[in-house]
Each structure stands twice: as C-alpha cells, then as structure tokens.
C-alpha cells in the first residue's frame, strides 16, 4: 500500500526505517513501513470543538499516526485539495458550524476518495445511518476512546485494496467481459466486478503482508503501479461530462475513459470512480424516492437537519447548469467539457453547505421523457419537509422515471426540464423559449418534484414544472415579470439581476425573481446571476435551442434552489463548479465561484 509510505519514514521518529526494507521491493510501496504500519498514517481531524480536537490529536499521536488538526471544514477541504495524496484518512465531526459534516464527507469522497470517519456525541440511529448512506467508512461515538482510533488504519487498507483490485482487474480481465458486467444493472456492476475480482483481491491481501508484492505484479501488468489517481475537480468534471454524454445507463468505464481522453488514467480508475459515483447517486436518490420528499430544492434547508445547509445557490446553479448541459449535450450541443466544468465548478464550491442537488443523470432520453413526469414530482411535492433535505436530492429530473443513481446526478444534473421541453416543448414558442426555458430549468432544477405542475410547497417552491414541461408557471416564483413568457431575452435582464445571496435560502419564488434571489443559503452568490426567470409559464421548454439559456437559467435557478437540498450539497457544489466553469468556457465571464453568466453569450453556444 502506498500509504504515505514516504512520509512514514520521515515522520516516525521512533520507527526504524530500515527494518522493512527487505520486504518491499517496490519503490513506492511502504518500503519502510510494512513493519511499522500503520504507524505514520496521515490523519486529518476536523472538529470545531477545540477540546475534542486536542484530545484526538494526542490520541492519534499516541497511535503513532501523523496528525493534522483543523477546526473548520472549509479549511479542511482546502487542505485536502492542496495536498492531494497528503492524507490517508479523515476524521470529521458531524455537527460543525460552517459546514455540515456529511457534506464534507461527500465532498471528500468525490474529490479525493479518502476514507472518512464520522464522529459525534449523537448516537441516534438516524444520524449513524446518515453517515452510512453518505459514505462514511466508520462512525465513532464521542467521547472517543483511543482504542477506537487504533484501528482506523483498516479503512485505509481496505480502500487501497479496492483500488488495487480495480487496477489488477483491468489488467487481467478482458475489457469486454468487464464491460458486460458493468452494463448490467448499474447497481450491481460494482459488485459484479468485485465478485469476480475477488481472487485478485484475495491475492492482494496475501501479498499485503509481504509488503506490496502485488505492487510488483501490478507493475508488470499494464496498469502500472498505479499511483493513486486523485479525482480533482477538473477531472471529475470531465468524468461527469462523459457520463452525462453517454447517459448514466450506458456509461461504461471504457467509453467514459475514451470520452474523457485524459492521459494517465486507466479504465480501472474510471471504473472505481464510476462505482463510487453511482453509489453516491443512488444514495442521494434513494432517500428521495423513498421519502418522496423534495430532495433538494424545496426542501427546507433546515428541515430535518439542524445543521444541514441547503444547497448553495451555486451548487444549484451548477446543478442546473449541468443539468442543462446534459440536455444540451443531448442536443448535441454542449460539449462534454462544459458539463464537466460545471461539475468541477460545483465541486469547487466546497464551501457550500448546501446540499447538492442530485440530479440524476440518466440517459438523457429517459430523463427528459416527460411522459411520466408525475411520479417524480408527486413525490417531490412533499419535499417541503425535511425529507428531501436529507440526502437524496435529486429529483432534478422531474418526471424522469429513471432511478438515476445519485452519483449520476451529481454533476449530471439531469435536465429534467430539458427533456421535457424537448419532447414537448418544441411547441413552445420561441419567444417564450427563453423565459420558458428558464423557468423550466428552474423547475427542474429547483424542484425536481415539482414537475407535476404542482407548485412547490410554499416556501420552497420550486417552481414546478407544470406537466412535463415545467413551465414554471409562475410557481417558480419567478413571477413572470410580466408575462414572462415572452421575454425571450430575459436572460438575466429581467430586472432582477439577482444575486443570490447566500442568505437567501429559500427559494421562494415570491415575486418573480425569487427564484433567483434565493440564496441558497450557502450564501453563494451567484455572481451576476441574472436570473432570468421569465416566468414560468413555460410550457414547453424551449430547450431545444436554448441550451444556453437554459443553462443560464439553471444557474440562477440553482442559486435559488439552494436551500432545497440541504443534504445534497455535493451536488450543488458540483453543479456550481460546473456551472462556473461552463461560464468560463463560454466566455461568459467570471465564473469562479459565481455564476455570473452572461446570458447573451449563451446564445453563442452551438446548438
């Protein structure tokens, strides 16, 4: 395992560095460490309570781990981003003032793929379950005892084994076979892979004791020693774009890899990342579907979780944008990159406590098939409640029958609205298109469930997309500024230069621009979001040729929708990131953390 092997040597003052040299022949392996392992494990501890932090640090030091303390989640994220491969495991508190621990967990899982251990004084089943569904590899109850910390290295080992397994698998298995396996129900694909890679894993396990013998094997195989691939924001964006382009159901690692066209990563890397992504999406989706509550948009930011923050507006935008992008992609317009950028942008917004919208990224066709919008929305309607907040966002795709795995959603924001529009909207008048699309986008973005024409619950109202088309009839709050619909070029101009301020979480569409104004709570300013909600009357989304517009709308929408998905922050972040990037790509103007889209420029996007 390459557990910071290099660092281990340096950091461990008490560890003799040469003892294990004989074992490890691999260069990068834990040459000096196998004997000392898990000593030197690099742990990042995040907790706003200084007393706990001090105690944990001492405990971990006593376990011979290398500890870095952090009392703010945002700082922790930036530390992780700046030091890719600088940490082996993260321990985080659940209740933190600046960002919900689960949100941080998801971010880390997606961006850095590190094992994350959650801890809290709260031992209620629901919270522990939440940890599980968000991907925590363990959950410790405070007060934490040192014994509980001694074994955290197992999570690191386990994860590494999986990675190696993927690598080895790809090398030894026929691609076709693998693909077939992957094509199976996505939910099972990973297990299928794992199942038949078991022997590899086992072999690896046996080798483990010998100090990374498998590393050597791996070296022989095509995959290389496989230094850990860090899924940085850009890379993830590309990944998401590729998946989106292929359609979540059809996204197989080989194709994704080809689409991404990034040198230095292997099919295995993509496969394992895809697996995680799917699990994530599924998680996000699961609650949504089960709870039927509005996952994110409308969901009250605090619903259910005191600390849950709603999706940052940027996240929403990113989501929306990505959703849009997806749509656009479908239309053949949006380059995968745009989506990827949005995704990246979304990811980049680590600060958003908001839950991301998990927009399932199903095959675009599916998503947009508004043939049955209701089911989704129906459920969504409830969202008002807490339910959605929690975890499963997604329903951006209204009416999208698919069960998009949450992961897919992230960054892939389905453009539910879009699909609908596509199928039906074509009828939409072009004039409205802009407004419509906007509203539509909002509709879906904001409220996935809303599609059924129902207006989203009062506070959150995510504009519901009436019928499939979403048009937000005004629900969006975007109160037609007057008739919105025919404000074709209302992009952002609608008077509302809404800057979503973070403080506005709710998407209340009260008055028109509400949507835009909603600051999803995370206070992310959507930068220039000129939300254009020209009213939702949208009946058909004119997505067809308004990709960009939609996008723009989404962007704004996103911000508006922030609060809705308290739990799905990751998606929001992703979306935001993607969105901002998209903007940049399009030359719209700064994107960095704001989605200041220049709506007009969107028109330049190829349709």
């Amino acid at each position: 395992m390459n557990l910071a092997s290099q660092n281990l040597v340096n950091k461990q003052s008490t560890m003799p560095s040469s003892s294990s040299a004989s074992r490890n022949s691999t260069t990068g392996g834990d040459n000096n460490v196998p004997d000392q392992f898990p000593a030197g494990l690099r742990v990042l501890v995040v907790d706003d309570d200084p007393t706990c932090l001090m105690i944990l640090e001492k405990m971990l030091r006593n376990c011979k781990y290398e500890v870095t303390k952090c009392n703010r989640a945002v700082v922790a994220l930036s530390l992780l981003r700046e030091n890719k491969n600088g940490f082996d495991v993260v321990i985080s508190d659940v209740h933190m003032p600046d960002m919900d621990g689960f949100k941080l967990l998801v971010h880390i899982g997606l961006e850095m793929d590190l094992p994350v251990i959650m801890m809290s004084a709260d031992d209620s089943k629901s919270v522990v379950m939440k940890g599980v569904t968000h991907g925590a590899c363990d959950y410790l109850i405070k007060p934490v005892r040192i014994e509980a910390l001694r074994n955290i290295w197992q999570h690191v080992v386990r994860k590494k084994k999986r990675e190696w397994k993927d690598v080895d698998t790809s090398a030894s298995l026929d691609d076709v076979d693998r693909k077939e396996k992957e094509r199976e129900d996505p939910d099972y694909s990973s297990s299928a892979n794992e199942g038949h890679n078991w022997k590899n894993v086992k072999r690896r396990k046996d080798d483990e004791d010998e100090g990374e013998g498998e590393g050597e094997e791996r070296e022989d195989s095509s995959s290389l020693k496989k230094p850990r691939v860090v899924w940085c924001v850009e890379l993830h964006q590309q990944f998401v774009a590729a998946v989106n382009q292929l359609g979540i159901d059809k996204a197989v690692p080989k194709k994704i890899l080809d689409l991404m066209n990034v040198p230095g990563i292997t099919r295995e890397n993509v496969a394992s990342h895809l697996q995680k992504f799917r699990l994530y999406l599924r998680r996000l989706n699961g609650s949504h579907q089960s709870g039927g509550s509005n996952p994110s948009f409308l969901s009250h930011p605090d619903a259910g979780y005191g600390s849950m923050s709603t999706l940052s507006d940027l996240d929403l935008q990113a989501l929306a944008a990505s959703g849009q992008l997806g749509q656009l992609g479908q239309l053949g317009q949006l380059p995968a990159q745009s989506l990827a950028t949005l995704q990246a942008a979304a990811l980049g917004r680590s600060g958003n406590p908001k839950t991301p919208f998990s927009v399932p990224v199903n095959d675009q066709r599916n998503i947009f098939s508004f043939e049955n919008p209701q089911p989704r929305y129906g459920q969504v309607q409830n969202r008002q409640g807490h339910n959605s907040n929690i975890t499963k966002p997604i329903n951006l795709l209204h009416g999208i029958p698919t069960t998009m795995e949450p992961k897919q959603l992230v960054g892939m924001i389905p453009m539910t609205g879009q699909s609908q529009s596509q199928s039906q909207s074509q009828t939409q008048t072009q004039t409205q298109s802009q407004s419509q699309s906007q509203s539509q986008i909002y509709n879906h973005v904001l409220r996935p469930p809303v599609l059924t024409g129902s207006v989203v619950s009062p506070g959150n109202h995510v504009t519901e997309l009436t019928g499939n088309r979403f048009p937000v009839r005004g629900n969006l709050g975007i109160p037609s500024y007057g008739g919105n619909q025919n404000r074709p070029q209302n992009w952002g101009l609608q008077g509302a230069d809404l800057t979503f301020d973070r403080s506005l979480h709710t998407n209340n569409m009260q008055g028109g621009l509400n949507v835009l104004q909603h600051d999803y709570g995370s206070g992310q300013k959507i930068g220039g979001s000129k939300v254009i909600f020209s009213t939702g009357e949208g009946s058909g989304t004119q997505f067809a040729d308004n990709h960009l517009r939609v996008k723009a709308e989404n962007v704004n929408y996103k911000s508006a929708c922030q609060p809705f998905c308290p739990d799905e922050y990751s998606q929001d972040d992703l979306l935001t990131a993607i969105f901002s990037q998209q903007q940049q790509q399009e030359g719209i103007g700064e994107a960095e953390s704001e989605l200041g889209l220049d709506w007009y420029s969107l028109d330049n996007l190829p349709v």
């Binding site: 706003d48 309570d49 200084p50 007393t51 706990c52 001090m54 105690i55 001492k58 405990m59 006593n62 209740h95 809290s120 004084a121 709260d122 405070k142 007060p143 934490v144 005892r145 040192i146 605090d302 005191g306 600390s307």
Partner: protein
C-alpha cells in the same frame, strides 16, 4: 500528600464527578506532554464558557428556540463528555430531553443545574491540579485507579 492526591482523585470517580473518559486523558499524559490533563481541562473550561454564554443568551429569548438550544447544548455536552465531566453531562442530557419536550421550565432548571455542576467540578479540579503540582510529576505516573 500522595495519599491525599490519590484519595481526592478516587473521590471524583466515586462521587460521579468524573468518568472513564478522564482516565483516558490521564493515560494520554506522558513525558512529551506531562501536563496534558490539566491543559485539556483548562482548554475545556475556557472554550465552554463561550458555549454557556450562548446558551444563556438563547434562554433569554422569547419565545425559546428549542432547536437552537438543542444544538448549542449538543456542543456543550460533547465537550463535557470529552473530558469525562460526568455530572455535568447528565444535566446536559436532561436538558436535551426537556428541549425535545419543548419544556421551557425544565430546560431552564436543568441548565441551572448543569452550570452548578460545571462550576463545582471546576473548583475541584483546580485544587486537584494544584495538589498534583505540589507532589510532582512522578506521582502521576503511579496513580492508582
């Protein structure tokens, strides 16, 4: 003196002021951190003063925001548990129960108890640490349980 120190320490556990977590802290103390326990306790009292202040403020509001109270108390309770402040922690738990029941009187009452236990423990620990300093660090090493 050693006997006094040992007995004082034992009384903390016998009387329920401290629990097993405190022992964990003691076990963490070593040559590289010879005053670890005292440092942690000091940090706790300093940081928790802020939490208590917030709770006081929140309890003054009308109407009471129980969710916020619960959240604040959760933080305070977590801190207390990390140093093993058993009695204080029990009062925190009671407080949270009253919070869930939206019982304002109960909340205020238990908060009052919690503060009292908190202050009592603080005094006891302060004198205990003073004693420890007098007997010297070696005493800590062979502390009986």
């Amino acid at each position: 003196m050693h006997r006094l120190v040992a007995n004082t320490r034992k009384s903390f556990f016998d009387q329920g002021y401290l629990d097993e977590q405190f022992v964990q802290l003691e076990e963490l103390q070593d040559n590289s951190n010879p005053n670890f326990v005292e440092e942690v306790v000091t940090l706790f009292y300093r940081d928790s003063a802020r939490l208590l202040y917030n709770l006081d403020q929140a309890l003054e509001k009308r109407p009471l925001d129980f969710n916020k109270l619960d959240s604040l108390m959760h933080q305070f309770k977590g801190s207390c548990s990390s140093i093993g402040a058993k009695k204080v922690k029990i009062e925190c738990t009671n407080f949270k129960a009253y919070c869930n029941a939206r019982n304002a009187e109960g909340c205020k009452r238990t908060f009052h108890h919690a503060k009292r236990e908190y202050t009592t423990l603080k005094k006891k620990l302060e004198s205990y640490f003073q004693m420890l300093r007098q007997v010297g660090p070696t005493e800590m090493a062979c502390r009986p349980r």
